[in-house]
Symmetry: D3
Subunit: 166 residues, 6 copies
């Protein structure tokens, strides 16, 4: 049975990894990279291709196999679920705790909730804020992701973009 898990993964963090680890125990997993056309903003610093690298690399290090699909936004909620279904190989269920995702997929696929990780600790927004402020963030993401972000100078990019808002 195949399950789809969608996130923006800006960046992939240990909370995501926990969900993914549990999901692959039960399902063949498709990971959808949402807002794939977005990059170089404070909310979405990394391109879909960079996020693909993060996910692929981190999963490989743990021997996890998953299908990864970049999914550009359509900005039209009524057709979004059909859009996702069209871009992805077949899936039977959707794994999500996001109310909008659940609402939009419910007429077309079974939706199951994921067990919650600590959002207090693991949150893309908080990790990006830590990067901007120069606080420690590497312990919140898989080692592969920390190394990759260093390699592409991701923190410099984010801090640089943050100057727009000063």
């Amino acid at each position: 049975m195949r399950a789809l898990l969608i996130g923006r993964f800006q960046p992939l963090h240990l909370g995501h990894m926990e969900i993914i680890r549990r999901a692959v125990e039960e399902y063949e997993l498709i990971i959808g990279i949402g807002s794939a056309q977005k990059s170089h903003t404070l909310e979405n610093p990394f391109t879909a291709g960079e996020r693909y690298e993060m996910i692929r690399g981190a999963l490989r290090e743990e021997g996890i196999d998953a299908i990864i699909i970049p999914i550009p936004d359509v900005d039209y909620n009524s057709v979004w679920a059909s859009h996702v279904i069209s871009l992805c190989p077949h899936f039977d269920i959707v794994l999500s705790n996001n109310p909008l995702t659940i609402e939009l997929f419910s007429p077309l696929r079974e939706v199951r909730r994921t067990e919650m990780f600590s959002r207090e600790e693991y949150s893309g927004r908080k990790i990006r804020e830590r990067m901007i402020k120069g606080e420690e963030w590497r312990h919140l993401v898989p080692d592969y992701v920390a190394k990759y972000i260093d390699e592409i100078k991701g923190v410099e990019r984010l801090r640089y973009l943050a100057k727009n808002d000063e």
Copy 2:
């Protein structure tokens, strides 16, 4: 070294497979599914998700590993190469014999030509025509693809859509 190979794969055929087999000998391969938003037309009968299944299944049967990325059109040639680069994990070279692809990627990536397979025999357009006319087509595609198209009733879909043009 990573190479990108883009096609529409409507459907994946033995000509593609020959190029893929040679490419994976030399490169870590990314396969881009072009015109990913198109489906249910005579030119593009299959969704990106269905084409993903074909490619993934056929490659698995031969033990070939590749990254597969659906790539929607942007209909703006000047930005198309940047669009592809943004959606895909990093690649060093582009494999293509298509003049437009070569022209658009040349300023940004090294482009290498692929050895030609027989276009007379292996051509998406010709396979789709055979499907519509009820001629044999299964020998022109990998076994996995033939079975998958049967499973999703792909030939019926194509023949049905062809009635629009009668």
Copy 3:
């Protein structure tokens, strides 16, 4: 029970009227004006607003009541049926003989075929050709439509646009 009937109505003709008359005997009817954003071309000379006037006027003359909804194209077949469902008030079935419409709506709504009118005689394309060539066309459309097209100088517009192709 509500039924949706979609056409481009370039222009509304007696073949459409025959289908509409039969449909309203059985269903509460929604008429979708397809390609609503198109106008001023040889294929689509009239705006959605003008086509709305034609349909509304012709139906009123026969005392027929129907909901009329302009439906812009999305140029993305996989999401088109969801797009139509989002724009229209609720409908239970779709009335169509068009293979693409049938194919795209089948997973989401019951589709019923309409009895065929003579496409030889009643066809938007043939009526537009007659208008361009200066042949008689008024007997192929409802009186209201003929008068309305005269009023907006629709034939002049079409003939004028045809000069582009000379």
Copy 4:
């Protein structure tokens, strides 16, 4: 003489009804459903089709006749008035108190202001807030709309979506 009145109708409320009642005394009325492509957000919970049902049903209960047209956004102010004119049957004047609507339509149509209803009491935003907080809202909308929103479980949808912002 035909007049166009545009709103988002999220949802249709008694303030709208008051304007509509006065408008139909003087004009043949077209009601444009703005932001037609939006739904399932806190600002725009209902689809254009659902809003069409609300307006049509509420008007029928009062014996009011009006043309209703869903109008998707174009996000390009300079062309918005032309876009509306293209989608709607002919209208002579625009009824509006909205500065942007007045500014954009003034070069193309006569604009007349509507008498103001109490915005303090009747406001889509305030009704949506009441729905989310579990306060009474049914007395602010036509009976038909209250019943319809109950039927489609609209309040549940809105409350559910509100969890995104927690």
Copy 5:
């Protein structure tokens, strides 16, 4: 008095120059570069930026002053004239022999026809065909344009793209 002249200028040729020379005798001229987002196709080989260089350079050689504005397509005829008006500095009249341009601008601006140059001789399409076939084309365009196209290897680009259609 300002006049707008719109063309695709693929490439700028002596027929265009003749119209421009006459226009600047009477008007302050705005030259709109249509289909500005298109390039690298057989119909539209040059980018808007390249076409800007051709027009600017050729006009300078003759001491002609004009405002040049790239105008991307909107693919929505009903709003096209408003789109052009929004992108361009103020103009009083439109110079055109193109039926669609005349039809779409007539409600908003005075349209005047240009005297016809010999379309038999001077035609973008024919010049592009000559380039592809290796026939002489330089005598059909201003010297500046011939030199510029050589400089950017425009003929090689066009011939190369033509292989797509073989």
Copy 6:
């Protein structure tokens, strides 16, 4: 050597003029009008055409020559620099202090920082706020711009639009 300077110029002010004066001493200058499709909002009150008039007029009064190009947004950061390059005649360097512009152009063009003018004094946002509040603003923009904005009743437009937010 050609340099590109991009801004929104809502409106053109003396800070911009200072940068432009210095730039034309060193470079042949292209001025890109960003967010060209936006107008009639508090952030972007003027159309691209109106902004073109402001820039052209103010530069002429000082005898400054520059190429001016309206640049619509693409809302896709990864392709934005390619989009700008496609619309503009050739340029060698980009002049900018904007982190996003610098980040996006760095892989494709040399970027040079401009000397900073006093952002405290000269800022489009502050000038628009002064216009809305009825404070003096004419001393912050070139004389030509002040006269032009008066002529098109720009302050009235802005104040009028501001009522939307009350």
